[in-house]
Each structure stands twice: as C-alpha cells, then as structure tokens.
Amino acid sequence: MKQRAGLLVGAVVLVALALVPLFVAPYETGIMSRILIFALLAVSLDLLVGITGLPSLGHAAYFGIGAYTAGWLSLNVSAEAPVPLLAATAAGAVAAAATGWLAVRSTGVFFLMLTLAIGELIFQVAQQWESVTGGSNGLFGIPAVRIAGSPLTLAGFVYWYVLAGFLVGYAGLRVVSASPFGAVLRGIRDNEPRMRSLGYSPFRYKYAAFVLAGAVAGLAGGLLAAQARLVTTADLGFTTAALALLAVVIGGAGTLWGACLGAALVVLVRDALGPRLDGHGPLVLGLVFIATVYLLPRGFAGLAALRLRRRPA
C-alpha cells in the first residue's frame, strides 16, 4: 500500500518535472536545471552520508573534476552528446578511486577532516593548473552540447538534457541503495564490527561506495558544464561541498529523495533569493542549517516519517 503510494508520487513528480519547460519561463527553467544538477550531487553525497555513514566535506571535488573534464572535452575535442557526460562520470570515478583509498580508512569525524583536506588540495590543484582549468578565471566559453550534430541552446532543451542525466544518476543510486550491496552499506553504517565478523570487508564496500558516489558527482558536474557553460574553482571549493552536505542534512540523510528537497532549498536560496540579499545567501543557509540541526535531527524526511507513523493504519 505504502509502496504503491510512493510509486504514484514518483510518477506525478516525474510528469511534473518533464512538463516544466512548457509552462515555465526560460530563466526559471534554468534555475530548475540548476536544482536538478545540485540535487544529483546531493543524492550522490547521500549515498556516502546517509547510507554508508561517511560524512564527506570534500565531495564537491569530484563534482568539479567532472565539470572541468566535460568542459575541457567540449572545448577541445567534442561536445557531441554522451561524450562529455561519460568522460565526466569516468573522471569523477577515477579521482574518487585515487583519493578514496586513503579517506575510507577512517570513519566519523576523522573521515570528515580527511575529505575536507582532500577537497581543498584538489581545489588548490584546479587553482594552479591554469593551462587546463583557466585558474581563477575558470573555464569559460564552453560550447553548447550537440545532439546528432545540432547544438542544444534553448533553456528548455538543456533542461530536458539535464533531467535525463539526473534520472539516470538517480535511478542508478536508487537501484544500488535497494540492492544487497546497499544493505551491506547500511549494515556497515549501523554496526561495522558485526559486518566484519560476518565476513564482509568494510573497506572494500566503503571504497566501492566512495567511487560510485564520485562517479555520480562527476556526472552531475558534466551536466553543470552543459548547463552553465562555465566552470570555476568555486564549483569544487569548500562552500559547494558544505552546501551539498547541508542539502543532505536538511533533507534528511539516507532517503535520497530528501536530499533532492534539501538541494532545491539550497539552490533557491542561493540563486533565486541570493541576488536580493546582495549575494549573501550562505548567511540565510547557515541559519537554516543551524535551525535544522536543532529542530529537525532527521531533516524533512524525518517530518514525513513522523506524519506516516501518526496516521492510523
């Protein structure tokens, strides 16, 4: 019964998302695209934070690496549709594989610190490697994505492109989360020594989750390069990483859809409300964040669970 209701809600949301460009002005459609991109980043982070129990403060690094890869390829090699996205996903996975073997050795707050350090170092590399990343100017003038040779320039078409990428990434994570693999990850989150004594190797599972999350973050980065057509070092900096974690926590860690709601709130405050606040959106977000930690320990998703429990069966 509950599952059928969930499916129904999912279908309604999907149809509504698909219809957005038909009813919404181009600027607002652009903001919707940004929400989807950031939501995909937040969902990939939720795989680490909520499902595996690894709070990362450096996840924006893989997002940024994906964005730079897609942007650089579009500029120098090819902007033909799946190429930049596939490369961005691969780059995110490779970067996560290269750094994750160190990070997943630790847990809890230690993991938070290590990922923060790793993220910052990747940020420094992006800042210094000017020949590829454009340094502090960023990578600009990225050509529009081409599908079968024709460039995708209208905001609505770009939105559908982003939506398709988002759905692929989201569905992938959903499947992983529901699989036996996802169950093992939850087991590690709840009781790592027990999982070890059952014969599982927590290191391997955590490492696999880290690489997978990096790959999806890279995919989100690839979508960013296609939508914003500009990649700057801010996209892989501390603030982006902190906002992504914030989105997961506000939404409710471990539910995947909660992270999407959190991401929507973050992007709305930052990009839609931000200009009216003189670009100081993070101030509002910081306050929201503090309030969430106190009042909603389990985020929006916690509210929904509460309501379901109170309703008589």
């Binding site: 809890g108 210094q128 306050l287």
Partner: protein
C-alpha cells in the same frame, strides 16, 4: 650543504613563523577534539574574527596600543565565543558527534558571511607594531623582524600551554578527560565545565592567532577555510589531544608550506597531501596520538 642552507634560510625561517602560528591555532582544536570528539569547524572563523580585530585596531597606523588592543579584544571575544559554542553544542550532547560538527559548520558559514557583509570582499592589511615593522640581518639575509618575533611568541605560548597541561592540576584534569572522560565524570568532575574551559581557551587562542597572523596574511574572505584546513592537517598528523603532536605537526606543516613551496612550487599541494597520507598510512592515529579504544 651549507650553501643550500644559506640559500633557503629565508624559507626555513618562514616555515618556523608559519609553524608558530599554526601551533597557536591548532592546539585548542586538538585538545577539544581529543577530549570531546567535537570537531570545531568554526575554528577558522574564529581566526578570521581575530584577523579583522587586527585590521580594526592596527590597520591604519602601526602602534603598540592598537596592536595590544587588538590582541586583548580578540582573546576576550574568542574566549566568550568559545563559551557560546560550548553551550550551543550542549543540547546536542546525546546526539551523534557529527551533529555537533555540523552545528559548528553552520556557525562558521554565518560568521564568515557576517564578516564579509561588514568588511567587504577585499583583503585588508594589518600592520605590525613599531619596532617590529622593519627587517633585520640574519646570517647575511634580510628578514622581517615581525616574523622572528612571531617565532618567539609561538615558542612562548607552546611552553606556557605545555607547562599548564603537563604540570598543573588543571592540566591533569584536561589530560584525564582526553584519556577517559566517563572515568573523570565518575570522580565527580563536571565534564561540561572542563569542555567549557577548554573550548573557551582554545577559541581565545584561535582569535589571538588571527591577530598575530594579520601582518603576514592580512584579513579577507576565504582565509578562514585555508587556516582551518591547515590546522586540521596539523591535528591529524600530530594526533588528537596531544600537545606535543600539535607542536611537531605545526612545525612540519610550516616547513611543507614554506620550504615545500620554495623548492617545488608546482607540487606544494601534493607535498602537503603526501605528508598527510604518509603519516596516516604509517601511524593511522597520528604521530603522537594515543591508541584509543573504539568510541
């Protein structure tokens, strides 16, 4: 060897100056973390508050009065802020430690934005006090006097912290809390008071480091994240809750930041990461971290 030493003397001295600063910054972070498992992500924001106090009182003219006022105000405000942070995390004491870290992250975002609204986005200058604003000859190299003084201050503070923590009753209480805080609570000591005191002193030192670092790094947005990350790397390398570890880690990272950048400018970030990775692979709990039972 001698000529190598001679050409890199300035970098080595710079490394010591940065190391001094990092120690003052990291020692509070390390003890709070070691004792309460609370990662204070607002530590960098406290440093930034101190740096802006430095600009406020010692930005225009070089005077002992201004610099002294900045130091005093920063220390006081830092201690108070530490107290506020301590009472803010208290309601979360029964929740996972991550929640407390997230709370300090929110506080850090808010404080950094408020400072940016108030002081703008430019990097502001802080002037060293008179007598220290010139430079002097060190083995035939010209070197800013202020940085030499900073090395001295760092050593003084290190000695003071070491004596207090290792040789006094209060210090014994702090060390005991790092080792086993439930046992200390059983002996009738209120953990919350120890945490309040340690967080207060640690935050005061962070704000103090902001003023002291002002003449070198200035005050500007983004500085809080940079110093927070350096301090975290110091704490991870040195080991949680260890004063000796914070000292050695700070000196090490100071040299990596300075000498590393001078010798291999393109690889400096990798050197920092490499040092961190190496220490964590060889000694996962840091150089001086005690092997702690699972929490």
């Amino acid at each position: 060897m001698l000529s190598w030493f001679d050409t890199n003397l300035v970098s080595i001295l710079n490394g010591f100056a940065i190391g001094s600063l990092l120690f003052i910054l990291a020692v509070g972070l390390s003890i709070v973390f070691g004792m309460m498992d609370v990662l204070n992500l607002a530590h960098g924001a406290l440093y930034l508050v101190g740096a802006y106090f430095g600009y406020q009182f010692a930005g225009d003219t070089s005077s002992w009065l201004g610099f002294g006022t900045a130091l005093g105000t920063a220390a006081l405000v830092g201690v108070l802020a530490g107290g506020v942070l301590s009472s803010m995390t208290e309601p979360l004491a029964r929740r996972p430690h991550l929640d407390q870290a997230l709370l300090t992250l929110g506080v850090a975002l808010v404080v950094a934005e408020l400072l940016a609204i108030f002081y703008g986005n430019d990097v502001l200058r802080v002037r060293p006090p008179p007598g220290l604003n010139g430079s002097m000859q060190v083995f035939g190299n010209t070197y800013p006097t202020y940085r030499l003084a900073l090395i001295g201050i760092g050593v003084l503070i290190a000695v003071a912290v070491f004596v207090v923590v290792e040789r006094t009753t209060v210090g014994a209480l702090v060390r005991a809390s790092v080792a086993d805080r439930e046992m200390v609570a059983t002996l009738g000591v209120d953990n919350r008071l120890v945490k309040l005191a340690v967080l207060g002193v640690g935050s005061g030192l962070a704000a103090l480091a902001g003023v002291l670092g002002g003449p070198i790094y200035g005050a500007g947005p983004g500085l809080d994240e940079r110093v927070l990350i350096l301090a975290l790397v110091v704490v991870v390398i040195g080991g949680l809750g260890s004063i000796k570890g914070a000292f050695v880690g700070a000196l090490l990272i100071g040299q990596v930041e300075s000498l590393g950048r001078a010798l291999v400018p393109d690889l400096a970030s990798f050197v920092l990461f490499g040092a961190l990775a190496l220490v964590l692979i060889v000694r996962p709990r840091g150089l001086f971290g005690a092997p702690k039972a699972a929490v």
